[in-house]
């Protein structure tokens, strides 16, 4: 049940992409353990504003763990210490009285800092733009039950499709690789019969786009899987590699 704790917060403050940035320290007293991590930051911000100071900028929206907009590094771990949890679903009851928390933005070459804890993750949209979809126009789709899909396949596709695109995998990876994100999308679509016709083209174009944007390669560190709030498996990276190799050998069209 509800109790209060005192915390020391060391938060990355950076005015804009060109500012050097620094860690600033705040003492926060009487934090109710019922609060979510983001609500704790709200409380800090209310106080800062009443003191005439600039609040800490951080991204968030749904606050129920599904939109993928929130995410900061807490004590070195993207989305904080709880497994399978987004930052917005992390609650203060998991922290101890007197604890010091270091809060930083997701760091990767492809994620520019916009302000404080807010980073630009549009590179992930760029990768989807390169082919992370099934090319179908609206209106001409066949009757939905004309292509049966085994429930096992649908379930595996759903396991991969559950990715929320938050970017924690990139932030946790020593190479800042986006391969868990890309692998999840590739798997989701390659597993389904509807996604097969353009699977090769998709694998090549998404992989190339990822390299071009400055994301690194997978080194089997498995940090991505460890921090993923949706617990997406690295078997998706294996499938991405298979799809990519298959496509590299068998696909002729000039991209």
């Amino acid at each position: 049940m509800s109790k209060s704790i005192n915390l020391t917060l060391k938060i990355w403050r950076q005015k804009g992409p060109d500012d050097k940035g620094r860690i600033e320290t705040y003492e926060l007293k009487d934090v109710s353990t019922d609060l979510s991590f983001l609500e704790m930051l709200d409380v800090l911000n209310e106080r800062l504003m009443l003191e005439g100071k600039e609040p800490v900028a951080f991204d968030h929206d749904c606050r129920e763990g599904i939109c993928g907009m929130c995410g900061s590094v807490v004590n070195g771990i993207p989305h904080g210490p709880e497994k399978g949890t987004t930052l917005c679903q992390l609650h203060m009851r998991h922290f101890k009285d007197g604890e010091t928390l270091v809060i930083e933005p997701f760091r990767a070459r492809a994620f520019k800092v916009i302000k404080d804890l807010v980073v630009d993750r549009s590179a992930m949209d760029e990768i989807i733009k390169a082919g992370g979809y099934i090319s179908v126009n609206t209106g001409g789709a066949p009757e939905a039950n004309t292509i049966p899909i085994s429930p096992d396949v649908a379930e595996r596709a759903m396991d991969a499709a559950a990715c929320i695109g938050c970017g924690a995998c990139v932030a946790a990876c020593p190479n800042a690789s986006a391969m868990l994100f890309v692998g999840a999308k590739i798997s989701h679509l390659a597993l389904l019969p509807q996604g097969k016709p353009e699977a090769a083209r998709r694998a090549l174009s998404m992989q190339r786009k990822m390299d071009e944007l400055g994301f690194g390669n997978c080194g089997n560190e498995r940090e991505c899987e460890a921090v993923c709030p949706k617990e997406i498996s690295i078997t998706n990276i294996a499938r991405l590699n298979r799809e990519y190799i298959k496509a590299s050998f068998g696909y002729q069209e000039d991209l």
């Binding site: 049940m1 509800s2 599904i66 709880e82 099934i134 759903m158 509807q194």
Partner: protein, 637 residues
Amino acid sequence: MQLDSKVPAGPLEKKWDRHRFELKLINPANKRKFDIIVVGTGLAGASASATLAELGYNVKTFCIQDSPRRAHSIAAQGGINAAKNYPGDGDSIWRLFYDTIKGGDFRAREANVYRLAQISNHIIDQCVAQGVPFAREYGGLLANRSFGGAQVSRTFYARGQTGQQLLLGAYGALMRQVHAGKVQLFPRHEMLDLVLVDGNARGIVTRDLISGRVESHAAHAVVLATGGYGNIYFLSTNGNSGNVTATWRAYKKGAFFANPSFVQIHPTCIPVHGTYQSKLTLMSESLRNDGRVWVPKNPGDKRAPNDIPDSERDYYLERKYPSFGNLVPRDVASRNAKAVCDEGRGVGPTGYAVYLDFRDAIKRDGREVIRKKYGNLFQMYERITGEDPYETPMMIYPAVHYVMGGLWVDYNLMSTIPGLFVLGEANFSDHGANRLGASALMQGLADGYFIIPYTIGGYLAGTLLSDVKEDHPAFKEAEKAVAEKISRLLSIKGRRTVNDFHRELGRLLWNNCGMSRNDADMQEAKKKIPQLREEFWENVTVPGTPGEFNQVLEKAGRVADFLEFAELMVEDALQRRESCGCHFNEAYQTEDNEALRNDETCCYVSTWQFNGDGKEPTFHEEPLVFENVELIQRSYK
């Protein structure tokens, strides 16, 4: 003024076909001569942007999030309805139409709702083709489940993440068109004004949320798909960025607002626990299939739930509604929860909660069966509350979830401003006074994929539009007004935070114009809202400067609009002299406390026309005519 709904003549089943034939067409080669602005990238906005671009129009798409994939449609859990009748349990387009009309307490337009039911089947086909991983039966065909308010299984679902998967499908379609160069995407941009030239909607003014730049964008038509305004209550199940700004500013430019007081309260949310809480989390309605709702019989019974014997528990829904029991529709379940708490029989630290108990289901089916059905929801509950629902009953309480009110639109989804179209939750059209589960997703996608592509063409082909660019004086004027409002907000430098005002407004509305309303409370709110608004403009503190990334400034603008809109909402609630759907006015109830509708005098859509700041808006009604269904009292006894 007579509002023209433009509903086509002829039998209900043929109206949409006939209308599509009658709409003028634009030659495919000429579509590239038209620019269309779409604001919002949820199910309605993303699907509309993708489809319009596929047809050949040049589309400019705006969203306030960092990526179109973050729109709040992503959070919808339960499912999407369609009248496929795969289970063969008696469903049909007619039945889906009828359930939707009845569920909305006969306050929606027949022709629109029928069209929605017709289109529902195409949506499933389209989404399957896009790769949405819907649940499947062993034979590989699509699975269905049932949902509150319906007696057939017509809901398609992708685990508890249906909204996410449908949105990712639409987002993929959108990104494909961005890649093709037919959609220009503007993330982290907020629409701050609508621009009219010669009375037609011809563009918008936006603020780039990163640089703070105020910009103009011209087009031949504007589509608003900006969602609902449930966040006016401060606490709601909506994403934090949801707001009324785009629709409110369109209202101030002449678009009529319809049924602003129709707000859906969802019965199964995790209750409020503290002052700094920012969010209410919804627990899927499907829990009511197995969970039993109860409170202690005696007020003030503070014993732990498992210490209260059955004889001292009141399973009030089962007692009052024996045939529907715990599965009564949302409005009925919500009101009854409030009533028992108001009697002092609520549970938990605040007394504003009821138990949703799985004890009997676990005893009957075993823990494992329950875990398979609801495991992820139980886990989510435990994560938020720190309590284990396998051992102790969940606590739930109703929360603001969805709004049925929005900008008034005709059958073409066009507002009273020519060239301004409104889709999804942002319009008022399909859910009447109460939305049934799994029908919001259906409406968003029907509007975006299958209605707007036809009707916008009809408008563009039939309207002579002059050449308008961003240097037109109308844009300059709107930009200036927007910039002035921003600098005014920044110059106040008062002593109360934006959230503080928002919280006070939310509390006032929840208490005085929430789940259950009476004239005295609403009159009080009507008096207090202008005072709060006045204080806001004198005493709010907004740090920083206009030309930078400034989240408090963003929020301040939205709260300023909520403070204006709140008054219209209360006015609308006062105007409606009946109880219907989610609008429950205590003066209008049956002997057993059910909503008492008045079809004689209130069978209309209430709409409001802006007359200038500080002036009373003008009320207009669109009478609702039911030619195909008989208006009956909803009863779930």
